[in-house]
Symmetry: C2
Subunit: 168 residues, 2 copies
């Protein structure tokens, strides 16, 4: 396999993986491209490499910046903006966990808390089944949330070392 083939396969694989995890294909591909670029790229270069439009490229890069995965880089004497991705994958993983926790887990916990306050006959089978499900989900989600919160505060080696000891 030649470099160009490997590069395309990498970008393609990352894109496919992204779309099965709720990230748009293009967003994952731009991220992949920046991940393997030794130097920061301009909007123009990303557009050309991935054959996507200016508007799409701009919005995708903005999204990646919102996620804290890509950063603006200014080059001395250059008018245009360049972008680089965080290359340390453990940092990338931590950042994704942090954002998804904030965007998805926290709001759901709030809603579940409300649902438990439902009025009605506590003896009713259906009522009980709903409260049970909510209570059970809340408990698992809170524990997972706790674990993730701690995980992102450790560095990769500390975490993996600890887990290894724990599970051996």
């Amino acid at each position: 396999m030649k470099y160009n083939e490997a590069k395309d396969k990498f970008i393609h694989t990352w894109g496919t993986l992204g779309s099965s995890w709720g990230i748009s294909r293009t967003m994952a591909q731009v991220h992949a491209l920046l991940l393997i670029s030794p130097d920061p790229l301009s909007t123009e270069e990303v557009m050309e490499e991935l054959k996507i439009s200016r508007g799409n490229c701009n919005m995708t890069i903005r999204d990646l910046m919102d996620w804290g995965l890509v950063f603006k880089e200014l080059k001395a004497g250059e008018r245009r903006e360049f972008f680089r991705a965080e290359k340390d994958i453990w940092k990338v993983a931590k950042q994704i966990i942090k954002e998804r926790r904030k965007r998805e887990i926290e709001p759901v916990l709030g809603i579940l808390e409300d649902l438990k306050k439902m009025e009605g006959n506590k003896g009713d089978k259906k009522h009980k089944a709903l409260v049970d499900a909510v209570t059970n989900i809340e408990s698992v989600v809170e524990k997972a949330d706790f674990a993730l919160d701690r995980a992102i505060k450790l560095d990769e080696n500390a975490l993996v070392g600890a887990l290894f000891k724990l599970f051996k």
Copy 2:
């Protein structure tokens, strides 16, 4: 909030959460409905409750069974099939982790392994950046995979207890 309102909100919340994690809204909603049903439901009942078509209902339930989240239940003297969901959320979480590991992580590890074998000039900046990224991702994914593999072999209390001790 009345029971019916709470039920709808629960189903809606689960559906929304599902779609941001690569699961179709309907699949998550059917799962939610079965989660809070004290008794198994027939295809007909699910169709009616969620206002979805027969075909959609059938395929969605089949997918949920493929994921190991929903099971057929036969009622004595009844011709039609009934379905129930696993109610223990920790088991549900383990099952989802197990399936996603098999469906998504394992194939990606294989592809990454191939990519590292790329031919070409090892001194080239671009070549090196790609190999570095792949190596780095592989290392993080393998460690996460290892941790998840162990996690699904523990029960909820053992895992949470261990994590708590670990992180305190």
